[in-house]
Symmetry: C2
Subunit: 361 residues, 2 copies
């Protein structure tokens, strides 16, 4: 356990959660479930069961450094890694690996998003620990695969060799978000998992993979190897990080390497990607309304069903005769939107920012 | 004109306009049309064409004295008459008459609500002035009658002697709010007007009517005749006013006296009694949405029709796919409510106050 680390990725902007999620304070920093902890706080809490707090790192945009330290006061400033630009996950993970290698040449680490939900935390932690023990002894790259329970078209899928007797299974291929017919086929075959974007690997295996499949990124960032974990780290990053290509880790490594394995898990996971997926996930009243707010006692619903409601502070929300809407009442925006059309919220967010200013973005 | 006065009644609480109208700041003190002036300010502006500003009085509950003086800085404190209790219109008008009699024994005066709207102000003023000239020379009590343009069941009706050749017509009877069939009959007959509650009378005629038909009220308040217009006025009122019976002027005088006349008017009047009547009255977009707010540029409506929307401040309101709802976004309450059910808003207000506290009342 002493070589185990966790890197929580917290640089996203959660645009499909507009108007609650904003560039200035994205989804991971919100108490979107109304439980008194933000998503990143819940993620942090979960990983404290995997390794000591001083082995947990947050990787985020420089813009969010203060908010991370505010929400996770247990962390020191050195545990918050800041990207000076948004270059997708491959450069970000490569930077994390190089830095970690400097600290602990035999490190095993988890890379996980900051804005996912896991209900069965103990089972999740068990899988993670098993994964860490695997990658410590074998040169494999592990990605967790979520056992699907519906033909979701919002996730990428992992095609895996189901027959293997071990818990870890060889990944045959990664599939982009499918259409609904394809997704139904995936579900029926039993050979597909949702790609949850949670990785477990050893630092040497991963850096070897970068060297083999994405040397461009590695070459740029390796120039700073001697600067990492010194006072020069940020200044190196500010200069070189923005010159790395904008590529996802899936595209840079996972889809190319041949030592990719997956651990199928069933832990009550959700990426809470949209208002409707939050609605699906949450406890609901007898009429299928979910209230994503600490102040659910400040909501009066009559003849109202299937709604996803988020209110702010102590404000009273009175809704009569409404079905299947998203109602989000933020300090500076009120959104009333049909749940069935929520895929357009990302576009709506851009339109609003264009017309009313970037503060709404 | 030198004997002409206007008393604007501003003690109501506008409960059907919840959650915008509250006991602490009722409808008449709100810019409900989104034009930059509150209803009482617009009413005041209208009557400055009838008489000098120092002949205009506001009669209101003591609770609203400060807000009246704030919204109508042209008035001196002496022009704001404050009832120490809510005893309906008869005691209130009797008090106004006694006070006025002390200032000007030959006064003619208008009594009008503070929360009505008149589009054709010049025509309205012309009728008012004609009414004032009538009551100055004849012992009649005049009530303005609104020519109805639909079988509204929200108003009382005035049955009048249509055949008379003068503009002023004898009132045959007053009718309570009718059901829709009765209202249709009223409309077809052409012999009925809406009772708008706007009165014109001479102070002596009115006090004579109180003496004849409602001596109980007159006897209580007359005890203070020597205190009115002295520093003792308020202390007299505080003691005696609450002991007057809770009776409307219609019931105390108008339905009993036999010298009641009406002036039929057609001046683009509305009592703006409910959200739906406000919606009817207001300018609307191509999809019949009305925005009762100064910040209509902060509203984004898509696939939305027939809605009455009121937002606050610079907050952005984004509504997609909603039809025929009232959406009112106040600082401490959000209301989303089917327009067709708005008659229940008064009850809803009570329920909310019961459950969440009197501040919501």
């Amino acid at each position: 356990m002493k070589n185990n680390y966790v890197f929580i990725m917290a640089g996203g902007i959660g645009s499909r959660f507009w108007p609650s999620s904003r560039q200035a304070k994205p989804k991971q920093f919100l108490d979107i479930l109304g439980v008194g902890r933000t998503l990143i706080q819940m993620t942090f809490d979960r990983f404290t069961k995997v390794c000591p707090i001083d082995h947990i790192y947050i990787v985020t945009n420089i813009q969010y450094k203060d908010i991370v330290l505010e929400q996770l006061p247990e962390l020191s400033e050195q545990q918050v890694l800041t990207e000076p630009s948004r270059n997708n996950t491959a450069p970000c993970i490569c930077y994390a690996a190089l830095k970690l290698k400097g600290m602990d040449p035999d490190a095993n680490f988890v890379v996980a998003p900051s804005d996912h939900i896991v209900v069965k935390e103990d089972a999740f932690v068990e899988h993670i620990n098993y994964g860490l023990s695997l990658v410590a002894h074998q040169d494999i790259l592990l990605t967790l695969g979520i056992e699907p329970h519906n033909p979701n078209t919002g996730y990428g899928y992992i095609h895996y060799e189901k027959s293997a007797s071990n818990d870890e299974k060889k990944v045959l291929s990664f599939k982009e978000k499918p259409d609904v017919e394809t997704a139904k086929g995936f579900l029926e075959s039993g050979e597909y998992l949702w790609n949850g974007g949670i990785f477990v690997w050893n630092v040497n295996s991963l850096l070897r993979a970068f060297s083999d499949y994405s040397p461009e990124i590695l070459n740029i960032l390796q120039k700073g190897a001697s600067d990492f974990n010194t006072p020069n780290e940020q200044s190196f990053l500010n200069t070189y990080y923005p010159t790395t290509p904008d590529i996802s880790i899936d595209y840079a490594i996972m889809e190319k390497a041949d030592n990719i394995y997956t651990l199928p898990i069933n832990v009550g996971w959700s990426d809470i990607g949209t208002w409707a997926s939050l609605h699906d996930f949450m406890d609901k009243d007898d009429h299928s309304n979910a209230i994503g707010s600490l102040h659910s006692d400040q909501v009066d619903l009559v003849d109202t069903s299937g709604c996803m409601i988020r209110n702010q502070g102590k404000k009273l929300t009175v809704i009569h005769g409404l079905s299947d809407y998203i109602v989000v009442d933020e300090e500076d925006v009120l959104l009333i939107y049909p749940k069935s059309k929520e895929q357009a919220i990302k576009k709506l967010r851009n339109k609003v920012a264009d017309n009313w200013g970037d503060d709404y973005q």
